[in-house]
């Protein structure tokens, strides 16, 4: 639709206001990536015992909380909102309905994440009586400072508004184009956001009904199994929320970079519908080893989980087929010879291909995690972080970095400072992750736990296999160091890119699919049907387990304490008055902060 125009105009030329939103979102994302990488290298060296001079082991958990929250909430979701804004505006070829709404959700998300970030980082100093050493999963009855939960709630509300913004823009487009199919990228954004609304409703409920009132001392206790189950109701689909932007790039951008076209538009739609339907009713597979949940519920969750392999396996086919088509267009021949004809010198292409390759490996270790019985061997061992550093840590993170090399010039009109450094950087990430993740999987099989400052114990030694515990530690540390260096190169390259002068002629084209949307059944675009089925599946998977948990342990638990207590009950009475006032203050601060950030980013980018 907009191909001809795009060949001449970049996104910035055509939609300058929206390009500014995308830039700001990406900058927020890369700030989080920088912080996350710094905490990552500290913890890699500490945990493996190579260097423990920087922090005490008791502070390791503050580092770990920061690493997790900054990377999997802040880095990923800020990149997502930037990318989705670009995708909706580009594929509908129209501006957002009201840019003030757009900046409102940006301010809410940035403000919320700042609050949560402050509550975590305050854990490093005794001068402020505040901490949130609860890790990314914040399992009660471990308690964080109320600011941690408040920030999360504000952040999620911001993301809801973002979704509403994209839906409104699509509806406005539909008024003008009543008979057209939903453009593929917009279709991907809308289905992903429906999934997000369903999934995040549970964690929002958990935070607002239980955890925040509890941290303020308004209720005395919570039911740990209930809040944990509500977390995983959100906690599994959130991994697809990280992954769907990467899928969007693999389906719609990667084939064009390879010189080809997407193989099948209808199948891409089917895949996103399957993710919408199956992402949420699977969360209990994180709780296979939880007492208080019946085996039958776990089995249902496992069945759904295994079927969730289907859309990813279909994606593997379609993406490889599309890339092969591109290679043959470029003159490639032979059964595997076409691989030589691909643009391997392009960091965007190579980065995304390596990310996809690692995702296949991550998929295999995921099949082990998903198996109810073999899960016992690896549950909560370092195997699990080994797995998700392949998925979110590479399939998602490396795709985002690679895509930045392609997208950043189009939202700034500035060419990338060095594509050679970019290419080196994505390959370095792949090598570093191959070392680190492989060794983590191996240690997991020895029984080495995740989430610990000192995995070596005084009373026993681990069984010896795969080179042994110590040797694997060295591999993890080397891998982690390479990953840190790769991040430094990425950020450095980007900062130098910002110093480049603006030029013209950077526009890129996305070619339409070989088998276009007209081949796709109309029903795929009827989002109401998919919402209905998705909600039904979630109710089927979760109504009975949640009812059983509440029935057995009560809404506020069978008698459980609080560790540590942030605000005790007497102060809680005061809090009832103070909460609305605090909210007003928080809103004002968030607004102010974002205005400053906005001013700062426009200064940096301009």
């Amino acid at each position: 639709m907009s191909d001809a125009l795009e060949a001449e105009e970049t996104f910035l030329d055509r939609f300058p206001e929206e390009a500014k939103v995308v830039r700001s979102a990406f900058l927020g994302s890369f700030l989080a990536l920088t912080l996350g990488a710094i905490f990552g290298i500290i913890q890699t060296l500490h945990r493996t015992g190579l260097f423990r001079g920087l922090i005490d082991s008791t502070d390791y958990y503050t580092v770990l909380t920061a690493h997790g929250v900054f990377l999997v909430i802040s880095f990923t979701v800020f990149f997502l909102v930037g990318l989705f804004t670009w995708a909706v505006v580009r594929s509908l070829d129209r501006p957002l309905v009201d840019i003030r709404i757009t900046w409102t959700w940006y301010v809410l998300m940035a403000g919320g994440m700042t609050m949560t970030g402050i509550s975590i980082l305050a854990g490093f100093t005794d001068a402020i009586d505040m901490s949130a050493d609860v890790l990314y999963t914040f399992y009660a009855p471990l308690q964080a400072h109320p600011l941690f939960y408040t920030g999360l709630a504000v952040f999620i509300v911001g993301s809801w508004l973002a979704g509403a913004d994209w839906f409104r823009t699509w509806l406005a487009w539909r008024e003008d184009n009543p008979d057209e199919r939903i453009p593929l990228q917009t279709f991907m954004v809308l289905t992903t956001m429906i999934m997000w609304y369903i999934a995040s409703s549970a964690v929002a409920a958990s935070v607002l009904i239980f955890l925040l009132p509890w941290s303020l001392g308004l209720i005395e206790s919570v039911n740990p199994t209930l809040t944990r189950t509500l977390f995983w109701f959100f906690g599994h689909p959130v991994v697809y929320f990280w992954l769907m932007p990467a899928y969007l790039l693999w389906y719609t951008v990667l084939p064009s970079i390879a010189g080809g076209r997407l193989f099948s538009d209808p199948l891409a739609r089917v895949v996103f519908v399957l993710f919408l339907l199956l992402s949420t009713p699977v969360g209990i597979h994180h709780q296979y080893l939880d007492p208080g949940i019946a085996e039958g519920f776990k089995f249902i969750s496992m069945t759904n989980t295994m079927f969730l392999l289907l859309p990813s396996l279909l994606t593997a086919f379609t993406v490889v087929a599309s890339v092969e088509y591109g290679a043959r267009q470029r003159g490639g021949t032979g059964i595997f010879g076409w691989l030589r004809s691909l643009p391997w010198r392009d960091p965007a292409f190579t980065g995304m291909m390596l990310a996809g390759l690692m995702f296949a490996a991550g998929g295999f270790s995921g099949m082990v995690n998903a198996g109810m019985n073999i899960n016992y061997m690896i549950h909560n061992t370092i195997w699990v972080p080994g797995h998700f550093h392949l998925t979110v840590g590479t399939a998602v993170a490396l795709t985002f970095m690679a895509a930045t090399y392609w997208l950043w010039p189009q939202i700034t009109n500035k060419p990338v400072y060095s594509r050679q450094i970019g290419l080196f950087q994505v390959v370095l990430w792949f090598i570093g992750m191959a070392l680190m993740s492989n060794a983590m999987h191996a240690q997991g099989l020895l029984g080495v736990p995740r989430r610990t400052a000192e995995p070596e114990y005084s009373g026993f030694d681990y069984p010896v296999a795969f080179g042994g515990f110590e040797e694997l530690n060295v591999q993890i540390a080397i891998g982690g160091t390479l990953l840190f260096l790769s991040t430094v190169l990425f950020i450095g390259n980007l900062v130098l890119t910002m110093g480049n002068p603006r030029v013209s002629g950077l526009a890129e084209t996305i070619r339409p699919a070989l088998s276009g949307p007209d081949d796709a059944p109309e029903v795929l675009d009827d989002l109401r049907i998919w919402v209905g089925i998705a909600v039904t599946l979630v109710v089927l998977a979760y109504a009975l387990p949640l009812a059983a948990i509440i029935n057995d342990g009560g809404l506020l638990g069978p008698g459980v304490g609080t560790y540590p207590v942030w605000i005790d009950a007497t102060v809680g009475a005061l809090a009832e008055v103070a909460v609305p006032a605090a909210w007003a203050l928080v809103d004002a601060l968030a607004f102010l902060g974002a205005r400053l950030l906005d001013a700062a980013t426009s200064g940096v980018v301009a």
Binding site: Y61, L64, L289, P291, G292, L309, L310, P449, E454
Partner: protein, 171 residues
């Protein structure tokens, strides 16, 4: 909708793979009888474990010929009893709960692994063979001293086990 022939073959392969994975787990549960951690035990008040006859005194108890039950309490930052001592070639059912926050209970290097959640009682049954010392680690983050939380499982010979228990009764 047009689907390419290769795509159909791949789709069929994917569905067969999924059914095989599901089948293998189902076989494990129905055939060899691998039992999962489930909701077999009622909830208890984690603040009043000293009033519970299993967990007031965490211990190992013989409940049948060659069958033992181990009542284990996880707390910040350790396990009771420690060590957990059981005789060789026996069947041991662990009942595990937590006094404070969520912990893990993992016999390192084996598949004896469960969450220990306050208010809930996890039950797992394992077979132990020849005498050996195992490490037990808490594999869920439970607070600033998490890394120091460890326990031991001692599988001892029948003679040694009998001797120990007699010694206990004489005291």
């Amino acid at each position: 909708m047009h689907i390419h022939a290769y795509e159909k073959i791949w789709l069929a392969f994917a569905i067969v793979l999924i059914l095989l994975l599901l089948g293998s787990v189902t076989y494990g549960a129905v055939g060899p009888g691998v039992a999962m951690v489930a909701d077999s035990e009622a909830q208890i008040d984690a603040n009043a474990l000293d009033e519970d006859d299993r967990f007031a005194e965490p211990r190992v108890e013989q409940v049948g010929e060659n069958e033992y039950e181990a009542y284990v309490v996880a707390y910040q930052f350790g396990f009771e009893p420690s060590p957990i001592v059981v005789p060789e070639n026996s069947t041991v059912t662990f009942q595990i709960t937590s006094r404070d926050v969520i912990h893990g209970f993992e016999v390192a290097g084996t598949n004896a692994n469960t969450m220990a959640v306050p208010g809930e009682v996890a039950e797992i049954t394992v077979e132990v063979s020849e005498p050996r010392e195992y490490g037990i680690v808490c594999n869920e983050y439970c607070g600033a001293g998490h890394h120091a939380m460890e326990g031991k499982l001692h599988v001892v010979s029948e003679e040694e086990f009998a001797e120990m228990n007699e010694g206990g009764e004489n005291e």
